[in-house]
């Protein structure tokens, strides 16, 4: 007994010790986390998984999403003819036979066709055959009791028709049965091949990635995206943000808050309005071209009129939105720097520039890294501002990866929405984003940031 009691307390002690090292999973914690986990699954994991699946398909406008059917068309037969389908088989499959017999009359009666009309059909055409549905419909129209509406007439005609061409089947079995009926002499292997090829829905493929890996356009898009992200980030989100934060740090308080608010305007202005303002600002007869004209400088539509000005416009208009983010963060971080350090440096005769270089910047490492990493990810996936302004032009010179993914999958002139290829492009962005996140977390030494404090409070 005693030994077992000792054993028990030993276990208890051990578990208490291990409790200290490993975080405990409590029911309440899980319950509190549940909504977040649910939302994360719904709005992040599920879309990513779906994007991953779509990326490996040829899903497009033509295939539809999940509405694949089986249909043999003249175009399909012609394509298969190029791949070895014999002329005889193709003719047999394309054949249409219309026979007016008892079975057809019975089907039509069951389908609710007007009995008077049916008896006229039986009287007039019993035993006859046609091979052209349009000719048969014309004949039917001549009958006294023919329905007024064309649809009723074509539906009646269909009860007497045996054909497979251009009929949509929901499953392969139905098409196989009909093919065997229409063309009994065609071998079952051929029929299976035709049925497989007749599927209109999406198929799994790696072609999207092969295309992305081999086309020259990919390199151009990567180049454009890298330039866009690096320039916007370097010049505005970090550069301008930091510059403004430091300038405001040294200016009197009332002025500071006014300017901070001013810089927030691009961020709080609705995107569409912001884009229109930029158009007003840069287009022919807009503010900038008119000012430029006064000074004898080249005056044209800066947003779309030349490649260089298009890039400048695109980077600036995105940058001014991002700059406020950096400004707020850096301002906060600057206030955390102990003022004594600055006073001490002033006693030592340091000027403003020396203060910035030796005291402020070294202590801004983490905020700068944070803004860089966070904004890289958001710039990589942003396309709305570009879409509403330069729209990737002139030509395709300002098209970035995210915009191309969007236009490929969802919005282009020909209406040929290539969901599969667009998803593949989006998946590449997700992967790049994840890899960059991991790199940034390492750079940040995120582990250190969230590790237990070295002293116990």
């Amino acid at each position: 007994m005693s030994s077992s009691a000792d054993l028990n307390t030993g276990v208890a002690r051990k578990s208490r010790r291990s409790d200290r090292r490993r975080p405990r999973i409590s029911g309440l914690g899980l319950a509190l986390l549940a909504p977040a986990l649910f939302l994360l699954t719904l709005f992040f994991f599920a879309p990513v998984v779906l994007t991953g699946i779509f990326a490996f398909t040829d899903l497009s406008t033509s295939t539809g999403i999940g509405r694949g059917q089986y249909v043999v068309t003249p175009n399909l037969l012609r394509q298969l003819g190029d791949q070895g389908l014999t002329e005889d088989d193709a003719t047999a499959i394309a054949s249409v036979s219309i026979t007016i017999d008892e079975a057809g009359i019975a089907r039509a009666t069951e389908g609710g066709v007007d009995p008077d009309f049916l008896s006229e059909i039986a009287d007039r055409f019993a035993g006859e055959s046609f091979d052209d549905p349009r000719a048969f419909s014309r004949e039917l129209r001549g009958l006294p009791n023919a329905p007024r509406r064309p649809r009723e007439l074509t539906q009646t005609a269909e009860y007497f028709e045996t054909s497979v061409l251009n009929t949509r089947f929901d499953n392969p079995e139905a098409l196989t049965a009909q093919l065997a009926d229409v063309a009994p002499d065609v071998s079952s292997d051929t029929i299976a091949w035709i049925v497989d090829r007749s599927y209109t829905g999406a198929r799994f493929t790696t072609a999207n990635f092969e295309r992305l890996a081999t086309q020259k356009e990919t390199l151009r898009l990567i180049g454009n995206t890298a330039l866009y992200v690096a320039a916007t980030l370097g010049l505005f989100n970090v550069g301008l943000g930091l510059f403004l934060a430091i300038v405001l740090f040294y200016t009197p308080k009332p002025v500071t808050s006014f300017y901070s608010t001013l810089w927030l305007l691009p961020r709080i202005t609705p995107l569409v309005l912001y884009a229109i303002m930029w158009k007003w600002f840069t287009w022919e007869d807009g503010f900038l071209p008119i000012v430029a004209e006064q000074f004898g400088l080249p005056s044209f539509n800066y947003m779309k009129g030349s490649v260089v000005t298009a890039w400048m416009t695109m980077i600036s208009l995105n940058g001014f939105i991002g700059a406020s983010f950096g400004l707020i963060l850096f301002s906060g971080a600057l206030r955390a720097i102990p003022m004594q350090q600055l006073w001490a440096s002033e006693v030592d005769g340091a000027n403003r520039w020396q203060q910035v270089r030796r005291i402020i910047l070294p202590q801004m490492r983490w905020p700068i890294l944070f803004v860089t990493s966070y904004q890289t990810l958001s710039l990589l996936s942003s396309y709305e501002q570009i879409w509403l302004t330069t729209n990737g032009g002139p030509g395709r010179t300002t098209t970035v990866w995210a915009l191309e993914a969007f236009t490929t999958a969802l919005s282009n002139y020909t209406g040929n929405l290539q969901y599969g290829l667009g998803a593949a492009m989006a998946l590449v962005l997700v992967v790049v984003g994840l890899v960059l996140s991991i790199i940034y977390l390492r750079l940040f030494k995120f582990g250190e940031l969230v590790s237990r404090p070295k002293i116990e409070l």
Binding site: T61, G64, Q79, R211, W283, P394, G395, G415
Partner: protein, 449 residues
């Protein structure tokens, strides 16, 4: 910009008293139209007129029929096609859609539309009056899917004052269309002429030649000018003619290098283009017959016939021909419509295609007639521009192919043009890129020449 017009049709309340034994039928038919600006309102108003007519006919037969037409229009194509495709995927599509005939390929393959030939008689009035070549344009895979809504021609326009300013006699200006049609006057002759206009100070730099500012069927005309064929007549396969593509891309690069058009012309603004075209600021520019309506109605062009000469798009070289592309829109019935609604929708479309109703659209929007009978409707017959365009341009027009894969080729063609034009890649590289992209996507279903 979209705008909605809802119209509740007249109910034949009085006449219903004689509708002995007939059940009242009540339908709501939705119509969406793409690429339709202020001049193209009859694309859906024609359906509203047809609904009124159908209700009256029903009343005369002693039936009670009420049709409510709800319509929505898009001025552009991107957002319209996106809206329709996604609405279809969400089972939320309209009953009738007015779109370009080239959409029949992908939309029929995806099962988004139904063949209209099952719902109407093409050998009855008014459909039996429609030009057979337009019916062909609305056909795909051996079935007729839609009813042509309009036709058109695309035009090379010339500034008569600018031609006169560089010393052209009125005979030379008058004979220009014939010289172009015969292939004597080519695209490069055009570049020389407009360059001269700029050099002599008649026009500003980069204003000599003003092509369409965005993607459109128009650019296929230049491919044809250099001998290109979009699809092979025998096999029905798409054709990538690399020599023609090279000729076409090189032409725009040369035009840019000569300084008669800017390298960043694509993607510039429509309104600016219209204003310049209507004000005679360009030497030569190309657009559609329907632009006439916009320039004269909205952009203040008053004396069109004395200031603007019009012709086919000239040939580019000996391999090509002077040509023009027609891009008929078609009425399509969607598979979102229930069987009953589809029956009503198709009959409405047929009724809206009568010469008198369609002539309203043709004249208001400066589109060409869909039938011989329509050209005899007084409203149409007395319109000088439509008569002139029908005579000079319409006989040489052809349409882009109905092929579910054409969108892939079209996108690649235009991407290549943009890349070469803006100088992002060389002409050879741009053509090679088109070839690779199309070959990769379509495999054996495309012929590379």
């Amino acid at each position: 910009m979209t705008f909605t017009a809802t119209r509740t049709a007249l109910t034949a309340a009085l006449l219903s008293s004689v509708a002995f034994g007939a059940a009242a039928e009540d339908y709501t038919i939705t119509v969406w139209a793409g690429g339709s600006g202020d001049n193209a309102t009859y694309r859906w108003e024609a359906i509203e007129m047809a609904a009124d007519q159908m209700e009256r006919e029903a009343a005369v037969r002693g039936e009670e029929l009420t049709i409510t037409v709800e319509s929505q229009a898009w001025t552009g194509w991107d957002d319209f096609k996106q809206a329709f495709t996604l609405a279809s995927e969400a089972d939320n599509a309209p009953d009738i859609i007015v779109s370009g005939h080239e959409d029949i390929g992908p939309w029929s393959e995806a099962g988004l539309i139904v063949p209209i030939e099952d719902y109407v008689f093409f050998d009855s009035y008014p459909l039996n009056t429609i030009y057979p070549n337009l019916i062909d344009v609305a056909s795909f895979n051996g079935q007729i899917w839609g009813i042509p809504q309009d036709a058109e021609a695309r035009v090379m326009y010339w500034s008569i004052p600018a031609l006169e300013a560089i010393g052209w006699s009125s005979d030379e200006i008058d004979s220009l269309p014939e010289r172009i049609e015969s292939g004597e006057f080519t695209l490069y002759d055009m570049l020389d002429a407009v360059k001269k206009m700029q050099d002599e100070g008649v026009l500003d730099a980069n204003m000599g030649f003003a092509p369409r500012v965005s993607n459109g069927p128009d650019y296929w005309q230049f491919y044809q000018s250099f001998g290109g064929e979009m699809s092979d007549e025998d096999s029905g396969k798409l054709v990538v003619d690399t020599a023609a593509l090279k000729g076409m891309y090189q032409f725009f690069v040369d035009a840019t290098e000569m300084g008669v058009v800017s390298g960043t012309h694509l993607g510039s603004e429509w309104d600016v283009w219209h204003q310049n075209a209507a004000s005679g600021n360009y030497g030569a520019w190309h657009g559609g017959t329907w632009h006439y309506a916009q320039w004269t109605n909205q952009f203040g062009l008053e004396d069109f016939f004395n200031t603007v000469q019009y012709s086919l798009i000239p040939a580019g070289n000996d391999a090509g021909r002077a040509n023009s592309i027609t891009h008929p829109l078609v009425y399509l019935v969607t598979s979102a419509a229930s069987e009953d609604e589809a029956v009503i929708a198709a009959e409405l479309i047929a009724k809206a295609s009568t010469p008198e109703i369609n002539a309203l659209h043709a004249v208001k929007s400066a589109h060409l007639a869909i039938s011989e009978d329509e050209t005899t409707v007084p409203l149409y017959a007395e319109n000088r521009w439509l008569a002139a365009a029908s005579e000079r341009l319409a006989p040489s027009t052809n349409a882009i192919p109905n092929n579910s894969d054409f969108g892939v080729y079209w996108t690649a063609m235009f991407d290549g043009l943009e890349a070469a034009w803006t100088g992002v890649s060389s002409v050879d590289d741009a053509v090679a890129e088109v070839e690779t992209t199309v070959k990769q996507a379509l495999g054996d279903d495309v012929i590379i020449r």
